[in-house]
């Protein structure tokens, strides 16, 4: 119950934040703009519009999740609203979990709004193949959730600016993991240098989630299919990764002085 009280207040506060509304407005403007732009393209290029719409959802979803998560807990510490909350019978674990759930609920609402506008626009253009698009958006939502988990964890140990920087680096590295494996084989120099480089690359490869796995936008744009249980596999993988991040967050927040 406490968990949902914290989650609801986080959600209520987040949806009132002007910055999130501005980001949502730009996302919707970009999705709408892609369709206006499609009127000037030959029919063969129309798949590019689908790609652009999905990219807009991804871009703004990523920005919203990072923007929200990096300040979610630090802002409560700065404003000291956390003092009256933690002086009530609210465990620090429930607090972290509640904040995360509230953040995910906000993220879910934002993603649904963007997806509904995108699908409605596609529908009016006569494209009724929504199944794979919903799956693509669902996978993006998994990516946003994972990013939010990373940002909430980092918000306990670093400042919001550093947090945002690390999140962007993780996102970039997570989209390059295939290349990291490839780069590993090209290590040069002394034997010890090669060993160190390979170890570093291997650690990055193991630790950083592979964000490319969440991206099926090319397949959607080209009308290809993905395995039937692909989204579920990604869902389960994300749940485990996020659960691990939340356990780490709870551990560090349990020792944090507020």
């Amino acid at each position: 119950m406490t968990l949902f009280v914290i989650a609801r207040s986080t959600f209520n506060e987040a949806i009132r934040r002007r910055i999130l509304m501005v980001l949502l407005f730009f996302a919707l403007a970009m999705i709408g703009g892609a369709f206006v732009f499609s009127n000037f393209l030959p029919t063969t290029q129309e798949k590019m519009v689908t790609d652009m719409g999905l990219s807009a959802i991804q871009l703004f979803g990523v920005v919203i999740s990072i923007a929200m998560a990096i300040t979610m807990i630090p802002a409560e510490i700065d404003r000291r609203t956390i003092h009256t909350i933690l002086s009530k019978p609210v465990s620090r674990r429930m607090y972290v979990l509640g904040k995360f759930l509230g953040g995910v609920a906000t993220l879910g609402l934002m993603t649904v709004i963007m997806a509904v506008v995108f699908l409605a626009a596609l529908y009016f253009k006569g494209d009724h193949s929504t199944g794979l698009i919903i799956e693509a958006v669902f996978l993006w939502f998994m990516e946003f959730t994972l990013l939010m988990g990373i940002a909430i964890f980092l918000s306990i140990v670093v400042s919001p600016m550093v947090n945002a920087f690390i999140c962007i680096c993780v996102l970039i590295l997570g989209n390059l993991t295939a290349y990291i494996q490839y780069l590993k084989t090209f290590s040069t120099g002394s034997a010890s240098m090669v060993a160190i480089t390979k170890t570093v690359f291997q650690w990055i490869y193991n630790l950083v989630p592979n964000f490319q796995n969440y991206d099926i936008s090319q397949k959607v744009a080209q009308g290809q299919t993905v395995p039937a249980n692909y989204a579920w596999i990604m869902f389960v993988w994300t749940v485990f990764y996020v659960a691990f991040l939340l356990l780490m967050t709870m551990h560090f927040f349990g020792e944090k002085e507020v």
Binding site: V5, E13, H83, T84, L86, S87, P89, V90, E257, V258
Partner: protein
Amino acid sequence: MQTANETVIRTEKLTKSYASPNMIGGVLTVLNELDLEVFQGEIFGFLGPNGAGKTTTIKLLLGLIFPTSGTAEIYGKPADDLAVKHKISFMPDQPHYYDFLSGYEVLKFYASLFKLTGKAAESKIDELLELVSMKDASKRRLREYSRGMLQRIGLAQALLNDPGLLIMDEPTNGLDPVAQRQMRDLIIELKNRGKTVFLSSHSLYDIEIIADRVALLDKGNLVKVGRTRELLSRKELELTAELPNEEAVQAIRALAPDTRQTGLTVILRTANEELIAQAIELVHQHKGRLISVVPLQQSLEELFMETVGKGGGR
């Protein structure tokens, strides 16, 4: 079942240190081996200049920060125990609540943290809004509230769980004189209902008139603790008498050279009760009029300045 004189708060050698920002490897001790006991049903005034360690102590009691060494217990359990938090409440010095909510919604939010919902929550909130005179403004957003209104909502949220122990940090901060008086009356009312109030305040006047016991903290050290009246008692007596002639005045002056004189009225201050008895005898012998013999009291402000120095802290 809580009984009178039951220890509600007990700290033993409670210490909080931080790494000093000015010295590599240095340590800054903001609270040094604090031993404190607060008993059931009393108003305990917690005083000290800025940086004395008052807020640090409160944060330690609330489990917001952790001691470097020593222990803090509330109702016999570690201060950060979740079970303890059902019985205590905190009213912060600055009103830090969700300002996008109305006064009513804020109280509803905090009530739900105590699993107080539905009709029970509504009636409790209504009762408290009435108590803090905020019923009319309860539908307005907190960001539209004045400082005094926020303090009132702060008090209401602190009373939602009917706490046994109320920890108040500067409750009269930012209140006008009328509201300050109302806040003091409310605190006394809480004591009359059997609540224990741990009151940190800069307002020496407030503490002097309502606190049963007082602790004075300076630079992280407990410098005085005890019953307010006892701490403020100078253990001196003051005799005032009107004498019939200069000869009688000189007789008193011979007894106590420090005696002050205004015309034929003398004022004698001394801790020596024997001397006072002799002075009374002399007044009677000279057929003078004994106006008063009263025990002298220090104001809390005088005690504060005497104890923590005129610098007003760090």
